[in-house]
């Protein structure tokens, strides 16, 4: 683990920048990149400089780089610039054992780096003290916490700071642009609605938290104070630069959820836009955004559309929905499709569980006349074997979709965000205030973006062909 990396004195003796810890920072431009497979020998001839792993489990040694799994990327300097070899000092060595010539060389190399060399050297020495047991890990982390934050803007090591603060940005927000929701003032939509609810002299004890999941009995009793801020919030990071608009995700969704003809719970926009005289093409897959402030749940007159408390997924109770279509008109993303009972021949039927763990009918395609939309494959989330997966993510051939808990810094989407810190990111229609839980990597389509036909159309891949029985049950 990265943290443990600090306990390996070899890791810090040469180059103090632990790329696991600081991988979100920019490094000096690498001259070349070498990628190793798993299990690289720590005594490789490659000179240490910086290291990063795609699973975050890495340890950088003086001689190389090792990853917990997957690939490991080393960034190394120009080979002609190689200085004296780092002596192999064996276990249990101290700074006194260091080769002076090598240390001078290391310091010289560090002169070319933009970071605070003194801090690095100081940390390296403390790391050795830590390794010798003269310092506890907490003391070590705490000692340089301020300096590291000042230098890099963040300190990801497990000090007192919360995981949310550690991920990104000085404003303490977990994700770009998500306003902090602590405190239930009137700043949030829910806060305002609660205030109105409090004023309403109906005598009912329901609160607006009723937009969120309640027990199966659907009692109107007030749930906890701020029910919307789910501890677990499933979401996606979608890399639009990776996406090739192959429609595999749409196809997988249709097969899995047996949606109606014309209903694309996962739609892929293909567009062109003019960028200072150049035409730029782009693509953007669009599932339901499973918002933190979903306007569809607020307007629903029966609380059929609700946000599950256990994982923040927004679904429809098909047994209660009256088909008024108010959720559809209140959604700024256009993700709702009224059930028509017109399955396509793409899908053999829906085989997942139609009822969720609270026994509400929310899975699969909506029956005729009630509203449906992407469920984040809710039937998979309630099935221990498939939990944490969606059909679209599984079938994406270029790994553009990353599904997981957006509140868990170790989750796949959050990991992907960290790894691709250099990439621009956006949330769709963020100004609408729905606080969507899909984060896109890549350029946001401009206001002048025009839809164009992609390499494939829904007709091409047979997504629009009605099943033979025409949906007659």
């Amino acid at each position: 683990m990265c943290e443990n990396g600090f306990t390996d004195p070899r890791l810090l003796s040469g180059v103090y920048i632990n790329s696991c810890t600081f991988k979100t920072q920019s490094y000096p431009k690498p001259d070349r990149t070498v990628t190793h497979d798993e299990g690289i020998d720590m005594t490789s001839e490659i000179e240490p400089s910086a290291c990063s792993c795609d699973d975050g489990n890495c340890a950088c040694g003086t001689g190389g780089c090792a990853c917990g799994s997957g690939k490991c990327t080393e960034t190394i300097g120009d080979s002609s610039d190689q200085g004296p070899e780092m002596p192999d000092l064996g276990q249990g060595w101290t700074t006194g054992d260091l080769d002076e010539e090598w240390e001078a060389h290391a310091e010289e190399k560090l002169e070319t780096v933009d970071f605070d060399v003194e801090l690095g050297v100081e940390m390296s020495r403390d790391a050795m003290r830590l390794a010798r047991g003269e310092l506890t890990e907490a003391e070590f982390h705490d000692k340089h916490h301020e300096a590291i934050k000042a230098e890099f803007g963040i300190d990801e090591r497990p000090t007192k700071s919360t995981p949310l603060e550690a991920t990104r940005g000085g404003d303490g927000n977990a994700l770009p642009g998500v306003p902090a929701v602590e405190g239930s003032g009137l700043s949030s939509r829910r806060g305002l609605m609660k205030a109105i609810g409090g004023l309403a002299a109906t005598g009912a004890t329901a609160s607006v938290a009723g937009c969120l999941d309640q027990d199966a009995g659907g009692s109107a009793s007030a749930t906890d104070g701020d029910g919307g801020d789910n501890e677990v919030q499933m979401g996606m990071v979608i890399d639009t630069d990776q996406c090739i608009a192959c429609l595999k995700c749409s196809e997988a969704c249709k097969e899995e959820n047996n949606t109606d003809r014309g209903a694309q719970w996962m739609h892929v926009f293909r567009y062109e836009e003019d960028e200072y005289g150049e035409t730029r093409a782009g693509q953007m897959p669009r599932p339901c955004q499973h918002c933190s402030e979903p306007s569809c749940t607020y307007v629903c007159p029966t609380q059929s559309r609700f946000k599950r408390e256990e994982d923040g997924i927004v679904v429809t109770d098909y047994d209660r929905c009256i088909g008024c279509k108010y959720c559809e008109v209140a959604c700024p993303y256009g993700v709702n499709f009224l059930g028509k009972n017109e399955p396509t021949e793409k899908s053999p039927g829906f085989f997942g569980s139609e009822t969720d763990q609270n026994d509400r009918h929310v899975g699969g395609p909506p029956p005729a006349g009630v509203m449906g939309k992407c469920t984040f494959c809710v039937h998979r989330q309630d099935d221990s074997a498939q939990r944490g997966t969606t059909a679209c993510e599984d079938d994406c051939p270029v790994d553009a979709i990353h599904f997981g808990d957006m509140n868990d810094s170790e989750s796949d989407p959050r990991e992907y965000l960290r790894e691709n810190d250099e990439e621009t990111r956006f949330k769709l229609l963020e100004q609408q205030g729905n606080e969507p839980n899909i984060v896109y990597l890549g350029n946001e389509p401009s206001n002048e973006a025009k839809p164009v036909d992609g390499p494939y159309t829904y007709e091409d891949v047979g997504l629009e062909t009605l099943a033979e029985d025409g949906g007659d049950d």
Partner: protein
């Protein structure tokens, strides 16, 4: 005219039935049957298949259409009636008293038809009562739940008002009312004694105040809020929608009262019962309400074309290209000009048929505006970049949709026809008899 003569004239339809009545009854029964046939068809194939409505987004449909526009129109129509009646009682505008009863009945029927249009628009109308079951939980957040609350309250108050105001009258003229409705009269006059009259008058006064207070809350409040609170649709979102919609609603409501009253006046030769002066006064109010509607439209257009945000600008530009929009503008302008000419030179230009003509034009124009408001908001949905990535919506009502909506107008007519045989359509003073 002596009171005795007035009573005879008003009670005449209850005591005699003409051949013309039976002909009209046949027409309404036929239209009701056709309405039911169309509705059964829609229930069978589904609202998505029977109508022109669809999903917005990639399908380029419009989820709310004529039914929801019709709902808003009916709600608006419901006000005029009871507002006039309540005003008669609260601020003693006695000269409008002869049209109060017709107005009250219009309110009750219009509210029912508004509810019918909502049911028509639903994907699962069989589950309509879910809205009531879950109401205690949803009233805190769903504008539709607020609507259900306020409309129900309005309907209950109007019906109570109508019923209470009928008690003394029915008791007094009981022997002249048709025998076959006796059970109803017994129910309406249950426990009646003349000593309650004073109390009932006081209750009616307070009910009238409550109803007048509900008018801005319903047509200038919860109904426009159904749309103006929806940030997702730039064509709807805004704070002024309430004021604009209330003005439109009152315009169509007054026009509706004029049309219905004139029909009764013509059908039963009530020239002496409902004086022409009433129509002249209504024309003045109608003229200014229609003018205010133009004024609000002008605000809408100006903010939409002058340095507006791109999507609102695009939406307004698109609306200016719609023929329906120009039909509405022409309808409003022509009506306002005609009304002011009538007011200015009554001797040469005022006539009740002309006023009814203008009122019909205004009613249709307001209906057009309401449907356009609903549909247009969904034709140009959401904000950029999604606005341009999704296709512009398109919508054209199917024959079934047209028929079911127009059917609600016939249903209301049927309701009036029945009411005219059950209760006196002009308020009578029971004390004259006693």
């Amino acid at each position: 005219m002596s009171t005795g003569v007035l009573e005879d004239r008003v009670l005449y339809p209850l005591e005699n039935t003409s051949r013309r009545f039976y002909a009209l009854l046949a027409v309404f029964v036929l239209t009701t049957i056709l309405f039911l046939v169309a509705w059964v068809y829609q229930l069978n194939v589904g609202v998505w298949a029977a109508t022109g409505i669809g999903d917005w987004g990639i399908s380029g449909g419009v989820p709310w259409g004529l039914y929801i526009g019709g709902f808003v129109w009916w709600i608006g129509l419901a006000h005029g009636g009871i507002a006039i009646s309540a005003a008669v009682r609260v601020i003693n505008v006695d000269r409008f008293a002869p049209i109060a009863r017709v107005s009250e009945v219009l309110t009750v029927l219009a509210l029912s038809m508004a509810a019918t249009n909502i049911v028509l628009s639903m994907g699962r109308p069989d589950r309509i009562f879910n809205t009531i079951i879950w109401w205690p939980a949803t009233v805190h957040h769903s504008p539709l739940a607020w609507d259900i609350a306020v409309i129900s309250l309005y309907l209950v108050l109007s019906l109570t008002y109508l019923t209470l105001s009928l008690r003394a009258e029915i008791a007094a003229f009981r022997d002249r009312l048709p025998v076959h409705f006796s059970p109803l009269y017994v129910l309406l006059t249950l426990g009646y004694s003349t000593s309650e009259d004073e109390k009932i008058e006081q209750i009616l006064w307070w009910l009238a105040v409550a109803i007048l207070a509900l008018v801005p809350l319903l047509s200038g409040g919860v109904v426009p809020w159904l749309f103006s609170l929806i940030a997702a649709q730039p064509g709807w979102f805004g704070a002024a929608a309430g004021a604009a919609m209330l003005t439109e609603s009152l315009t169509s409501a007054l026009a509706g009262v004029i049309v219905i009253t004139a029909i009764f006046r013509w059908a039963y030769d009530w020239d002496d019962v409902i004086d022409e002066r009433i129509f002249r006064d209504l024309a003045i109010v109608l003229a200014f309400l229609a003018l205010a509607t133009i004024w609000f439209t002008m605000h809408d257009i100006l903010t939409g074309v002058y340095a507006a945000p791109t999507n609102i600008g695009a939406l307004t530009t698109a609306m200016l290209e719609l023929s329906f929009f120009w039909l509405a503008v022409i309808g409003l302008v022509v009506s306002v000009v005609a009304l002011f000419v009538m007011i200015g030179w009554p001797e040469q230009f005022f006539s009740i048929p002309a006023l009814v003509g203008v009122s019909v034009i205004l009613s249709i124009t307001i209906l057009n505006k309401k449907v356009m408001f609903v549909v247009e908001g969904l034709m140009f949905p959401t904000a950029p970049p999604l606005t341009n990535l999704y296709p512009t919506g398109s919508y054209s009502p199917t024959l079934v949709e047209w028929w079911l909506f127009i059917g609600t107008i016939f249903l209301a007519g049927f309701g009036f026809l029945v009411a005219s045989k059950v209760i006196p359509m002009v308020e009578l003073d029971p004390e004259e008899v006693n």
